[in-house]
């Protein structure tokens, strides 16, 4: 959309944030009693629900069992009311399948699957309201859900989508910024080692700006990891108070 200024002269974005500011993150673990692990995460206006089942025996095709590690099965779907126009096909279309594959790939790198041979871990992610950075918020929510399920991971998996406007990297894009034809980079990071679990970029970006963009994404992910860590510790504290420890 031409004419909409994504970054004003004073350095403010459409929603009043500065270039490196993340959106407000609110999260809650253990929303469902039925599932092994669940989490609800809001990042700005993007709201995601993640549920984890497992590790449990392989269901469905037994032939896909791996003898030395667990299989991670992800499903990404969007609620029909999540976007501005009602979504006709919430799951099973190409974009959702691609997202599910990316989530699977991200968590295969982070979860210690060698501890659970011949079993399956299911991660279901549902977007309740989509306002940009879908993949990143899903990864963050799924991390919390996996932690809630008590499945060991190498590190928090934090993700963030950054864009490049006017020679400046913008952290944590919202929908208006994403659809404005801005080059966006989604990065899933394990903060302690700085290892990248997934990198995905669309739209044209000159090679010289790539390093700056990845740097900005890494910093943003580290910021997200601090918030997630805070949420987990608070949840543990609440839980221990309730059990009287």
């Amino acid at each position: 959309m031409a004419g909409i200024e994504l970054l004003s002269d004073q350095g403010y974005r459409l929603d009043g944030r500065k270039a490196t500011e993340l959106r407000k993150v609110q999260a809650r673990l253990g929303v469902f009693a039925q599932a092994d692990g669940s989490a609800y995460l809001e990042q700005g206006n993007t709201k995601v629900l993640a549920v984890v089942y497992g590790p449990h025996e392989m269901r469905g095709s037994r032939s896909r069992t791996l003898h030395d590690r667990a299989v991670i099965n992800c499903q990404y779907s969007m609620a029909t009311f999540s976007t501005a126009e009602r979504k006709r096909r919430p799951h099973g279309d190409r974009k959702s399948t691609e997202m599910s594959l990316h989530l699977k790939q991200t968590f295969e790198a982070a979860v210690m699957t060698q501890l659970f041979p011949r079993s399956q871990i299911d991660i279901y992610v549902k977007i309740l309201q989509s306002d940009g950075g879908n993949y990143s918020v899903c990864v963050n929510a799924a991390t919390l859900a996996v932690i809630d399920a008590g499945i060991p991971m190498r590190d928090y998996v934090c993700a963030c989508t950054v864009g490049f406007v006017d020679e400046t990297p913008l952290a944590d894009l919202c929908y208006a910024e994403e659809s404005g034809g801005v080059s966006s980079l989604a990065l899933a990071l394990l903060p302690r080692g700085g290892q990248i679990a997934l990198v995905q970029m669309d739209a044209r970006l000159h090679q010289d700006h790539l390093e700056a963009l990845i740097e900005a994404a890494t910093t943003a992910c580290k910021g997200v990891s601090k918030v997630l860590d805070e949420v987990v510790r608070q949840h543990l504290q609440e839980a221990s108070v309730l059990t009287g420890e």
Partner: protein, 403 residues
């Protein structure tokens, strides 16, 4: 049909070779296979051979109503078909993971980067626009379908000519190719994808993996760029963890490769244009190898010969050190039994079998003679040896004998 699983020894062989910086076909780490581009008779049909990987792209167009939120833009539609012709593991019609992955990568590489001017495809705003459809068919899978498909798709789009239209008020007339020359699409830039395969948790990387290398790789990084050094798409897949430096290094390698490939594509397009102008025969049938003896000649593979003579003479020297092979004298464990040669077994006739057996099987022909004398000595020493508990069947026989 399920893919034949890769045997462990083949996997180990490939990984060891990669550690020693050797590839199956003798390429260097950053080398591409031979890329060959040919065109079909129609405009918009293109065949790409990347080594043995073969894909075909066909572009077609039709007039449709535009999308509601984009009334002035044409529509680009991409489709990669993984046909069972390419590999027995591809199933017709089934949307497998690989198919989804390739389709989405091609879409993101070509559509999001806006390589085609979609506004020029508009005929009547809000009512009629051109829908350009690119179908890529995989004909043979020998690894790295993504790169071949991206080269095929963009070359076919550059080669394609759409029919000319004339608008008179509300009436739209589409001219056939005989009436008016068809018009090429306006291509802004040519995004080409370059694939990097990672091995041993990211320690080794290879450009343009062949099918075997793809089977043993840990993960893949796909970078799509154009010759102006603009990155059009980056996608990492597989469960590998990368570092920022690796991504930066790959992007630098990719820019070099992309400029080479773009050169090749432009050259191929020029050649085809000249051929068509000269009125010569063009098309798939022409580009197929003819019925001659040299038609199926394999491309030369470079084999490293620098150290061959040195290592060869070293091997011969080692061989010379061993004494000339003589016929070993026969072993007579007990009266009535004679054995000669390697791998002598005692068949439960001795008390000390296991150690002797191992020794015998490992010894070479020239040591046989000394071995035999040693065994005879040890027998005498260990007549009252304690029976060791082991899994050997011969041992059980011995126990029975003692009892």
């Amino acid at each position: 049909m399920k893919e034949t699983p890769l045997s462990n020894c083949e996997r180990d062989f490939l990984l060891r070779a990669i550690e020693e910086k050797k590839r199956l076909d003798g390429r260097q780490t950053y080398d591409y296979r031979k890329l060959k581009i040919t065109f079909g008779t129609d405009y918009g049909c293109c065949f790409v051979d990347l080594g043995q990987t073969r894909v075909m792209a066909q572009v077609s167009c039709e007039l449709v109503a535009p999308k509601e939120n984009r009334p002035t833009e044409g529509i680009l539609f991409f489709n990669i078909e993984l046909s069972p012709m390419a590999s027995p593991s591809f199933e017709q019609g089934r949307q497998s993971e690989l198919s989804v992955k390739l389709n989405r990568q091609l879409e993101r590489c070509l559509r999001n980067s806006k390589c085609i001017d979609t506004e020029s495809l508009c005929v009547v705003s809000g009512e009629k626009v051109w829908q350009v459809r690119v179908d890529v068919h995989t004909l043979n899978n020998d690894g790295n379908l993504m790169d071949a498909a991206s080269v095929a798709a963009i070359t076919a789009l550059c080669h394609f000519r759409r029919p000319d239209v004339a608008i008179q008020g509300e009436e739209v007339t589409v001219f056939s190719p005989e009436e008016r020359d068809p018009i090429p699409l306006s291509v802004y830039h040519m995004p080409i994808s370059v694939s990097f395969a990672f091995f041993q948790q990211g320690t080794f990387l290879l450009v343009d993996p062949c099918e075997r290398e793809e089977r043993v790789m840990d993960g893949l990084l796909m970078i799509a760029m154009n010759k102006h050094r603009e990155i059009c798409s980056i996608q990492s897949s597989g469960g590998i963890m990368l570092l920022k430096d690796q991504v930066m290094r790959c992007s630098k390698i990719a820019s070099v490769k992309v400029s080479e490939i773009t050169e090749l594509i432009s050259q191929a397009l020029l050649n085809d244009k000249a051929a068509r102008k000269a009125g010569g025969k063009c098309g798939f049938a022409e580009s197929m190898p003819q019925d001659r003896i040299t038609a199926l000649k394999m491309d030369q593979t470079d084999v490293e010969m620098t150290n061959v003579s040195q290592t060869g003479s070293g091997v011969i020297l080692q061989g010379d050190e061993a004494p000339p092979p003589t016929v070993p004298s026969p072993v007579v464990p007990v009266p009535g039994v004679g054995q000669v040669g390697q791998g002598l077994q005692s068949w439960g006739l001795e008390e000390e079998e296991e150690d002797d057996d191992d020794e015998e099987e490992e010894s070479s022909g020239d040591d046989q003679v000394e071995e035999v004398t040693q065994i005879k000595l040890s027998e005498k020493d260990k007549k009252e040896a304690v029976v060791e508990i082991s899994d050997s069947e011969e041992e059980e026989v011995e126990v029975d004998k003692l009892n």
